[in-house]
Amino acid sequence: MAKISMSDSSAVVVIGSGAGGGTLANELCQKGIKVILLEAGGRESPESFQNDEWGSFGQISWLDKRTTSGSWRVAKDFGGLPAWICKTVGGSTTHWAGASLRLQDHEFKAQSTYGDVAGANLLDWPVTLKDLEPYYAKAEDKMGTTRTNGIPGLPGNNNFKVMYAGAKRLGYKNVHTGNMSINSRPRHGRDACWQIGFCFQGCKSGAKWSTLYTEIPAAEATGNLDLRTQAQVLQIQTGADGKASGVLYADKDGNQHVQKARAVCVAGNSIETPRLLLNSANASSPDGLANSSVQVGRNYMRHMTGSVYATFDRPVNFYRGTTMAGIITDESRHDTSRGFVGGYEMETLALGLPFMAAFLNPGAWGRDFTAAMDMYDHMAGMWLVGEDMPRETNAISLHANEKDQFGLPVPNVHFDDHANDVAMRSHAFKQGSAVYEAAGALRTIETPPYPSTHNLGTCRMSAKASDGVCNGFGQTHDVGNLFISDGSQFTTGGAENPTLTIVTLAIRQADYMAEQMTKGAL
């Protein structure tokens, strides 16, 4: 592993080691570019991951203080936990479920396809599906996505069997075990899935793709990577030329350092990324770095989500096996006859008993709740995930007086559902319930959104500098050597789980950066 000095300004600093940052760091290192990868969390491993929901939650989650506001139910039930994302090497690729879907062509053109939607700040992406297709192919190969590159699908578990039977009886056509970045066969030195059932807690077999044990060791092997763990970036600094000159970060002992940089790439997930830009305000950028558009932190999206759980008269044991290897894609189309724009996916989901108690109906108590819990092993479940509307007022902002352990303002996450989100969720609840009723459900339960796992859009791409924060390569409009390298780039959310697209954009960004360096522009 490389050891790069603090005053060396020839290396690229990447902030965050998840899907975006971990991939970008490796891609740059493979091209011979020196990278300092700063990760706020510590380093775990498949050996240290826990098949224990609460234990794992404490081990890998981002639990630094955050506040919430707005009418979303998460603010009421989990006011200090707006998002369920990670602070650990590998970021939220340790926790993700593995669903790897390409965005659809029309989803890159949301404004032109959906037209003006009142109260939504829609915009077309400055890139198209065609631009990304070669990079999607690289990402799927890298990640070992099932049903691509000749990789067979995963075997369906019991939860999938219930979804499948109900969906087919209901007339849905496209139902299968998904495009999952979880090995169905041993590949690239990693084992095939053991059907452990703790995908969210860090994969102990290593079958699920995570930058922790793919991209990062590959980058380390090049000798170009300097990975610093428990290194939390506090500020991006700029020089007299307005370019990013380096970053101020705190190490595990709280000692602060300035690392010089050739370029800075921010991949802290869509809450910390805009927070860092806002906390980096200076005399020439009083509203925050790269924020001449005043869009930093705005257009926060979290996907329309919800779950349907159903109980049956015979056992399901839905917690066994791959959590999300099951999908119905029929509702992902754009079809306004359903009463909303955009679409949604229906994906299998199971929680262990401890989390089911916490999330089935947060705050609920009494016999109605416990009657459902008593049917735990007779339960099937699905997650509903669809496109939500970007709104300028849904935003990450700096709290007026709450400070974190470093004395910096904590982020506040404000969110109000758009009417389109509610219409879509209502439709999805009805369809999800219908699937299970077709399979013979005794009872169906509509479960509200969990703390956000898909955080998107807070430093969005735009063709015009006045509409967003970065261009189609994630390069900020205002600061030429400052890049956004995570889901914050998303102009709109699409219906699909975002990780594959984040990885795709990171691979493409690395190519662009290398090209700019060769040209002497970076």
């Binding site: 098949n51 075997p155 092993d377």
Partner: protein
Amino acid sequence: MKKKTGMNRRQFLHTGGVAAAGVAAVASGAVLVAPDGAWALQLKTLDEHTAQTLLGMARQIYPHDTLADMYYAGVVENLDGAAAGDKDLAKLLSGGVADLDKAKGVKWLDLSDGYQLEVLTAIQDGAFFQKVRGTIVVTLYNNPLVWRHFGYEGASYEFGGYINRGFDDLAWLEQPSEDASPKAG
């Protein structure tokens, strides 16, 4: 509301602290004994009546009729332990129980099921109820001994996952096509 930095498991769903490790606690001398004498819980802070009432509350808030009292007593043990290092919590619990007893002019534990629920419903948004409910939800359902009651098997890694242990053993519905669900490799 009091603000905190960070969170741990038990702070996740409710406000209020958990006794820090190493806090010296002097036993209150009271003991919570099962009606059939099958188990007893030595209390550190709470008096026996408060503990008995909290046990009754736990049973009313998350009623599972076939689950024995000893599992609910784990919740009381957790609250009692936490109160040992947190005077505010001890006051919240004893004060909350005193209020329950005043609500109908009959000790809450002596009330009928219907009245007990009526009293709890009236205070369900308050700090006392939320503290007790939040503690139960992260304690009762996180007890591996309780998991058996629900048919949850817990950790599977040490048994090689479920690949050879029934991840796809459901046989009461039509089976998916090979295309939709290929065989394991």
